[in-house]
């Protein structure tokens, strides 16, 4: 499985309140929430994002609330993968549970800039920066989590 798209780049400690502000959480309609994804730090994201695009950030991405609306609205906005140096733990497990691919990679988080064209091979964890002609080795998942991902999420894996 591969992802391929244009990068939207953010910094450290991107919290769930800016990914999807709580003032919109009176609905669980993820397509509706996608319209407001990232708007408190990037008002143009929802209008700019294209299906398949990739989000890249630095450390502790998704800190704060447990709201699954955060990874779900990122997924619903069309993002195919989030790369960061590290993820806040609830965001990490929510992403796995709902099937939003995420990869931890320091080098990719440092080297990739907004607008770069990037391809990710989930089987090998290799991240290729087509714009800069570079590649980086991302961390792959342990087998236990690959089984959840391959079952298309936690609920299917429990059936």
């Amino acid at each position: 499985m591969k992802a391929h798209g244009i990068v939207h780049k953010y910094g450290d400690n991107v919290d769930t309140d800016v990914i999807i502000p709580a003032r919109y959480l009176n609905t669980a309609d993820m397509q509706e929430l996608a319209k407001h994804c990232m708007e408190d730090i990037d008002t143009e994201f929802a209008g700019r994002v294209k299906k398949g695009d990739i989000m890249v950030a630095k450390a502790n991405f998704g800190c704060g609330s447990s709201r699954e609306h955060a990874p779900a609205s990122i997924k619903a906005s069309g993002i195919s993968c989030v790369i960061a140096k590290s993820f806040a733990r609830i965001f990490y497990r929510n992403s796995i549970n709902i099937g939003l691919p995420i990869i931890e990679c320091d080098e990719a988080a440092d080297r990739i800039d907004a607008g770069d064209e990037v391809e990710i091979d989930f089987d090998t964890g290799v991240i290729t920066n087509i714009t800069k002609s570079e590649s980086y080795q991302g961390q792959s998942f342990p087998e236990f989590l690959i089984n959840i991902i391959n079952s298309n999420g936690l609920l299917n894996s429990l059936k």
């Binding site: 709580a22 009176n26 800190c63 447990s66 549970n97 989590l145 609920l155 429990l158």
Partner: protein, 420 residues
């Protein structure tokens, strides 16, 4: 090699003699929690997955606390969905307007969490119950759904950071100052994926409400859970609340920790976390003159009776500054009633405060005290992220009830010694 307190609880709930940090396990759950924002997502997933039964009527709890009393039509629809689901499946511990409270204040008060329990909640501040010596962690709605259906969930066994507590807090220093100090010291990802384990001879000087406040904010350091050693204070708190059987776990003497910090309570000063991260902790020698527009005293962090009493101690016979709004939100109906009986509500109203029924409301920018562009609030809540309490260009300063109440009186960030 020995195990930490958290590792022992997880091993027992996974049916294993031993677990190691990094190990992935499936564990049995003693309690599954959701609120009016996260439960609807879990219910949608439950129905979509085709589940038709829940694992226990006693071990699932739903608390309508975030956007209640319903702030708008959409919020009303979300509560209605939870109410109907709880009715359909006979969920016993469903709490709605009139008997609800803010979930993390309510559940300990109702005796629903006991030492040694393994608890998940679709709310990040579920780590609060570590105060009772339980393993308790925030998860997402899909986890909540799996928990409701199967009574189990997956965990990566965490390593731990130990905080050795000594001494006693000075007058007007609070548990909130301790946890803000710790987050300032280790950072918002200082305990990422880890447990924060609190023990030491100073624990006896922290009340259960102090511990609930500190464990509540473990997530603000990125922790999987915060957990306190069980002692006389714990047992005294639960004795007339918890009716189920429980087991007390202690960390092994040879348990390994990633780091050990000594925290001397007697050195803790009133502390304020500046925008826009809880790690931006400053004591008053670093604060200067900061004018404010609003004060919020409440939340799952600081809405318990001792917090309300602390605020009343400062506001008694004083008045909120001109052009400042002070909103006081007792966290549960029981806290509200106790505050009323003790005459505290009268003190607040005479001081020019608004007193609200329990709700998470303004903490997450829901309702009941939203900030306009450029406004500043001192709040006893737990997060000061961009836009957390309203407009993306508003600011939230986190503090104890003492500091929040003193700031309401002066109209600028102040400590009790400025006015007492």
């Amino acid at each position: 090699m020995g195990m930490t307190m958290t590792q022992k609880i997880l091993a027992a709930h996974a049916g294993l003699d031993e677990v190691k940090a990094g190990q992935l396990i499936m564990a049995d759950l003693d309690l599954v929690l959701g609120n009016d924002v996260t439960s609807p997502v879990a219910i949608n997933e439950f129905n979509k997955a085709g589940f038709d039964s829940i694992f226990s009527r006693d071990k699932i709890t739903m608390v309508m606390d975030h956007f209640t009393p319903n702030k708008d039509i959409k919020a009303a629809a979300q509560c209605k969905q939870c109410r109907e689901f709880a009715g359909q499946y006979g969920i016993k511990n469903y709490f709605d307007v009139g008997d609800m409270g803010i979930e993390h204040a309510l559940l300990p008060e109702k005796g629903l969490v006991a030492p040694g329990d393994c608890v998940i909640g679709a709310d990040s501040h579920t780590c609060t119950y570590g105060a009772l010596g339980a393993f308790s962690t925030g998860v997402g709605s899909t986890d909540m759904c799996a928990g409701m259906a199967k009574g189990k969930d997956w965990f990566k066994v965490p390593s731990a950071i130990k905080f050795n507590i000594t001494g006693k807090l000075p007058k007007y220093s609070a548990a909130k100052d301790v946890i803000l100090h710790i987050i300032g010291m280790i950072g918002v990802d200082g305990a990422l994926y880890k447990s924060m384990e609190f023990s030491g001879e100073g624990l006896k000087n922290l009340t259960m409400e102090d511990r609930l406040c500190m464990a509540n904010m473990a997530i603000e350091a990125g922790a999987k859970n915060g957990i306190f050693a069980v002692d006389e204070v714990t047992l005294d708190y639960i004795k007339d609340k918890v009716t189920k059987e429980y087991k007390i776990y202690e960390a092994d003497a040879d348990a390994e920790y990633d780091a050990v910090y000594d925290i001397d309570l007697s050195q803790i000063k009133p502390t304020v976390a500046f925008p826009h991260l809880p790690e931006n902790a400053r004591t008053f020698d670093e604060i200067g003159d900061v004018e404010i527009d609003q004060v919020v005293i409440g939340s799952c962090t600081n809405g318990r009776i001792e917090d309300i009493r602390a605020a009343a101690e400062i506001l008694r016979g004083r008045h909120v500054a001109d052009r400042v709004r002070c909103i006081i939100i007792p966290a549960t109906q029981k806290v509200y009633l106790t505050a009323m009986k003790e005459g505290l509500l009268e003190i607040f109203i005479n001081a020019g405060c608004a007193v609200s029924t329990p709700t998470c409301g303004p903490c997450l920018g829901g309702h009941m005290g939203i900030l306009a562009k450029g406004e500043r609030a001192v709040a006893t809540t737990n997060r000061n992220f961009v836009g957390r309490m309203g407009h993306p260009e508003s600011e939230v300063y986190l503090a104890s009830p003492y500091v929040a109440a003193a700031s309401a009186v002066t109209g600028r960030i102040s400590q009790p010694s400025d006015i007492m």
